[in-house]
Amino acid sequence: MREHPDFAEVRAAWLNQAEEEIPVDAENIYRLRTWELFSTTRSEVISSAGAALFFAGVVAWRFAPERDRLVQFGCAAVMVWAAVTVFRFRASIRRSPDFFARTGLDHYRTELLRRRDHLRSVWIWHGPLWLAIILSTATLARRIVPGRLWDALPVLLLLAGWAAVGVRRRLRQAAELQQEIDELAVREQ
């Protein structure tokens, strides 16, 4: 393939980039494995589960002394759901050593599918939070003290709205990813 003079210059500019000043620290690379635990997706799930647990904890703390079955079983359900979510997520992120050694096309498609499935299963990750909101609403609604539900309603509505917007945004992102996955299939032909 004959090279256009402009492109020879482009390649020369690319190959003659300034060297990185800081060399790669091999020892640091081994320590870096710990950082793998802090990807955005993981922190997303952890914060979602954490928020639900906090919510359930507050509800349990405020209402448990009254030995209300709805509160006790509801809080237990939230905690179990959150724990199962984290466990399930941990299992799904284990990667084999040759995970990155596939062809670019395979890898990219796998990553897009993984991200799409994660976004589509948003109800699993946000489930504990939804359950906690429903639980606290139901608990407050059953109280005899007048005005208690009304006092808490704005917060509950805000939380429910935030969760609904989040679900919608993620489903839209999942649809965009699906479109890109379909384009990859065309590219392979």
Binding site: H4, A13, L15, I22, Y30, F99, G104
Partner: protein, 173 residues
């Protein structure tokens, strides 16, 4: 594979293609601090991957696959907070005609090239970076999994886009 053999493979790959990996990281991240982190992550995944190295492809192809794929995963993660990425075809549609400049400033050229690369989707980046590194269509096919015909077509587009972009920027200079 034992830890000793893995370390040996990693050391060899880092020594032979370390500079290429640095340039590759520059094609995926423009911020110097983040680029250093990405570079470390590439080396980490490379070291880890050699546990499973079985000679199914050459050491160079393996190294570049791991590096590109690690960077692609990074781009997918970062894409959630960054602008939308585009394909060669989308850029090509926006090209206008410009005159040839008299001379070419290499530093500016590099900046222009990086700007184009950083907008591309990961697979297109793999092709352009590999091509800039001097790899032929067959070698790029081993890394990306795309057919040589597909790669040939992409390379043609890359040249057109880059030449146009550089002419445009430098005719404005």
């Amino acid at each position: 594979m034992g830890r000793g053999a893995r370390n040996e493979l990693y050391t060899r790959a880092a020594a032979e293609w370390g500079r290429m990996l640095d340039r590759l990281a520059a094609g995926y991240e423009s911020d110097p601090d983040k680029r250093r982190d990405l570079r470390q992550e590439i080396h980490l995944q490379l070291w880890r991957s050699f546990e499973a190295f079985d000679g199914r492809c050459s050491l160079k192809t393996w190294t570049l696959r791991v590096a590109h794929n690690t960077a692609a995963s990074y781009v997918i993660r970062e894409q959630r907070v960054n602008a939308k990425l585009v394909s060669f075809e989308e850029i090509e549609r926006t090209l206008e005609s410009v005159d040839q400049p008299r001379d070419i400033d290499r530093e500016r050229t590099l900046r222009d090239v990086q700007q184009v690369i950083l907008k591309l989707k990961p697979l297109d980046r793999q092709i352009i970076i590999s091509y800039l590194e001097g790899l032929d269509a067959a070698a790029i096919g081993d890394i990306t999994g795309l057919t040589p015909a597909n790669i040939g077509m992409k390379i043609h587009r890359i040249k057109k886009i880059l030449a146009h972009r550089i002419r445009k920027e430098q005719s404005h200079a």
